[in-house]
């Protein structure tokens, strides 16, 4: 399987989308750092004048980090979708897959090699993105905007953050095994969109105490648990589960309706089921 993982690494690295995403991610981190520095400076000045602005500082720091993580998660998801949705189908369409599969390897090895290659590279990317954002929050501007974080908070939040691209890869491989690159890409983007928009609808429903909106959110999270994973990451990071003022401290990225802990297991099962289904379909299909 290792040769296939290596090929997948090289394929990813040689793709223009990967290089562009890396450069844009660096630009984003620089921008995020500059913004954090300026806000930190402003907050530090204000704190010297009015000591009761501590609540404001907490609000701004979690708000800024939540925003950064949201956008970071969005970039990671897009990279995961665009780099993995054609990983099987485009090779089948171009017949590049023929010479690989004519070798003495099983289709399971081929697909798992692709999966581990993609998933590990995206996991590294998303972990670096997460740590970059958290690091900027902690150290830029002498930590003026630092959210109080423990190692466990960082670790558990990063776990949820990294899980999203891995689950996207599982679903992308499933779609790539059954349909064309374009169709798979469209389906996956819509699924991801439903998951995220549904998440916002659920939070709105919780604020307005409207059960229908909450149910829409729950169903959309079951369809694709992207938003639940992001919210689990922020809850772990800001330690705001069951905190009634969570939404107030985190603004639009707050969680008025926290996902059930079972959602984590659901997400894991969701990804695993997609991968197993992809294996089953790929083994039976003609290429």
């Amino acid at each position: 399987m290792w040769p296939l993982i290596k090929i997948t690494y090289r394929e990813m690295i040689s793709k223009r989308i990967f290089a562009i995403t890396l450069l844009m991610s660096l630009a984003f981190l620089v921008l995020f750092g500059v913004a954090t520095w300026f806000v930190g400076e402003k907050i530090s000045e204000s704190l010297q004048q009015e000591s009761d602005l501590k609540v404001m500082k907490t609000f701004f720091s979690t708000q800024l980090l939540g925003m950064g993580l949201y956008f970071g998660s969005f970039i990671t998801a897009l990279l995961a979708i665009f780099s993995s949705v054609g990983i099987i189908s485009s090779d089948v369409e171009s017949h590049q897959i023929d010479t690989w599969l004519a070798r003495a390897i099983t289709r399971r090895t081929y697909l798992l090699g692709k999966f581990f290659g993609l998933a590990s590279l995206l996991a590294i990317y998303s972990a670096l993105m997460f740590l970059g954002l958290a690091g900027i929050n902690q150290w830029v501007g002498n930590g003026a905007m630092a959210v109080q974080l423990t190692a466990w908070q960082i670790f558990s939040a990063m776990g949820c953050f990294v899980l999203l691209p891995i689950i996207l890869v599982c679903v992308a491989l499933l779609l790539s095994s059954v349909t064309t690159t374009v169709t798979g890409g469209i389906i996956l983007i819509i699924l991801y969109g439903i998951g995220f928009i549904g998440g916002f609808v659920e939070q709105l429903g919780a604020l307005l105490q409207d059960q229908s909106l909450i149910n829409i959110g729950i169903v959309s999270s079951l369809l694709f648990p992207a938003d639940s994973l992001f919210r689990m990451a922020t809850i772990s990071l800001f330690d705001t589960a069951d905190n009634p003022i969570s939404f107030a401290t985190q603004g639009i990225f707050g969680t008025a309706s926290p996902p059930s802990p079972a959602m984590l297991y659901y997400s894991l099962c969701y990804g695993l089921a997609a991968l197993l289904l992809a294996l089953r379909i790929f083994q039976k299909r003609d290429v």
Partner: protein, 319 residues
Amino acid sequence: MGEHVIETWNLSKQYDGKGGCKEITLQVPRGSVFGFLGQNGAGKSTFVRTMLGLLHPTGGKAMMLGHPIGTVESRQKVGYLPELFRYPDWLTGRQLLEYHADLCRLSRSERKKAIRDVLDRVGMAGRERERIRSYSKGMQQRIGLACALLSDPELLFLDEPTSALDPIGRKEVRELIASLRDQGKTIFLNSHLLSEMETVCDYVGIIHRSELVVQGEWRKLSMVKPQLEITLEVPEGRTLVWPPFLSGVRQVRKRDSREVWLAELDREEQVPVLLEALIAGGIAVHEAARKQQSLEEVFLYWIKRKEEEAHVAAHQNHL
């Protein structure tokens, strides 16, 4: 393992009961060059892709190198050059070969030697560090051939291996095939370029509209319809009368009083009967030589025969 590296029994791969290949039963002897002939769309590539496990058969069964097709074991010592040769263009030729060597589980030292050897064999030495996207079609086909040869396979599937090559490249590939056969390798050659096939093939199988029409040693197949080139002279007062059992006869050329005719017979046994009839008719027969039929003639003969059989069967069904 038996004498045959490929054996199939009614192997079919059809799409909604149409196209592809249908009930193919054939044997490919070890150490031979087997030419699989057919028109475009006859089902040649479908058959090869089914043998390699890229397509799942819809019927029948097949063994390759002593193992059922679709298994890893059956592909252990197989090389393949596809008709639609497309390789990751972001790799260099050398990187492509290195990845394939990894998949073939070649050790580092074996890999180095094997890559050097195959690059030499296909005439790509010195160009291996260039990206595949900068290769011409012919070079891509050559690097594909290098990939197929990399693991020193016992059985090599070459699907239209010279389609992108110039005349010199074609000649080199023919020589390569001949040298591989001399090493005891078996080559399954898919092509519709009959003139190229006849110089290298030992055995042929002819596929027409998904079905195998005939298979066997091609020199024997070429004798199915004996042709005799007869140089004769018709004396004054005599008339040349051809016996009615000939299935065809035409004058090839005439020089002075000598005429050269090409007579087509149905059976081998008719050759002496024909000559006796001519002599008995007072015709001076100066020379009679068996004419070796070209592969194209053999191919067209069997295709025509198959078409006629199909026509008769359709007529009977209609009645």
